[in-house]
């Protein structure tokens, strides 16, 4: 005998169902069985439409404008960021906004990088999207660097550091 049981779970966004499944490994399909009974519990993830904040939308628009910069845009030979770098920075701002991380500053760098910065008092976080596709996260307090890593390693630290 199979009994189906569906639940709907409203989650605060990390957009994309695969990310949700990874974030909640104990959810999803579960099966339990006894001698003559099998119960399958299916949890359906419901991601409500996520409204981008006005501020994040403005920063995204600014980041997108970096793609149209001309070579030597700063008159010292700066290289404009590539479309890939712009896309990564935009996706990150969306993700940060969904986690209520308020962007403070964005800028293109001289070598095709983009930085996205956050600030809370004297705490600062800088996320660099490098032209080779890598990223760096630097958390600092005053002039002391507290930690250095990558987005994969340090996103949760970034959240707790700035949203503390």
């Amino acid at each position: 005998m199979i009994v189906s049981n569906s639940n709907t779970v409203g989650c605060q966004p990390e957009l994309g169902s695969s990310i949700l499944a990874d974030d909640f490994p104990h959810f999803g399909k579960r099966k339990s069985s006894s001698a003559n009974t099998s119960i399958e519990s299916l949890i359906i993830f419901h991601v409500p439409p996520f409204d981008l904040s006005t501020s994040a939308a403005q920063f995204i628009s600014k980041i997108k404008s970096f793609e149209h910069l001309k070579p030597n845009w700063d008159s010292y030979g700066a290289i404009p960021p590539s479309g890939d770098t712009v896309e990564k920075a935009v996706a990150f701002v969306r993700r940060a906004d969904s986690n209520l991380l308020p962007v403070y500053f964005v800028a293109p760098g001289p070598n095709g990088e983009i930085v996205v910065e956050f600030r809370n008092g004297n705490r600062e976080a800088s996320v660099y999207f490098n032209p080779d596709g890598s990223d760096d996260v630097i958390l600092s307090e005053g002039n002391e660097v507290v930690s250095e890593g990558t987005l994969d390693e340090d996103y949760q630290n970034l959240l707790s550091f700035i949203n503390a």
């Binding site: 700063d74 008159s75 800028a107 001289p110 800088s126 660099y128 600092s140």
Partner: protein
């Protein structure tokens, strides 16, 4: 002939003020102002304040802002500086060493805007 740079020497960095910019709204400067370009093989260009004037160093007040950092602050974070006079700019110097994002950020946080108003 290059001169020694003293710990108390002020080093001046010219920073573009056109949009997009390396300068935040509160007039602090982002790490990109101290990020070397691929062409900066020998180091990051600065001027030694003792050997020039703020007016000369900024070149064009409408396009640039000037930021100052002391030589000992540069040395304290593991970098160095050396006088590198050019034909048209005797005050020219270089901040040398591997300037990572993190060190560029520290330089930027230490830099103070020089007001010419």
């Amino acid at each position: 002939m290059p001169e020694p740079i003293n710990d108390t020497d002020e080093l001046l960095r010219r920073v573009i003020f056109a949009d997009p910019r390396y300068i935040r709204e509160d007039q602090t400067v982002s790490s990109f102002a101290f990020t070397p370009r691929k062409a900066d093989k020998n180091g990051l260009s600065v001027d030694v304040a003792r050997l020039t004037t703020y007016e000369k160093s900024i070149l064009d007040k409408s396009k640039f802002r000037l930021y100052a950092i002391r030589a000992d602050q540069v040395r304290q974070i593991g970098l160095n500086c050396k006088h590198d006079p050019l034909e048209d700019n005797y005050a020219h110097a270089l901040i040398v060493g591997k300037i990572t994002h993190s060190l560029a950020k520290r330089l930027a946080n230490l830099a103070v805007r020089v007001s010419l108003d």
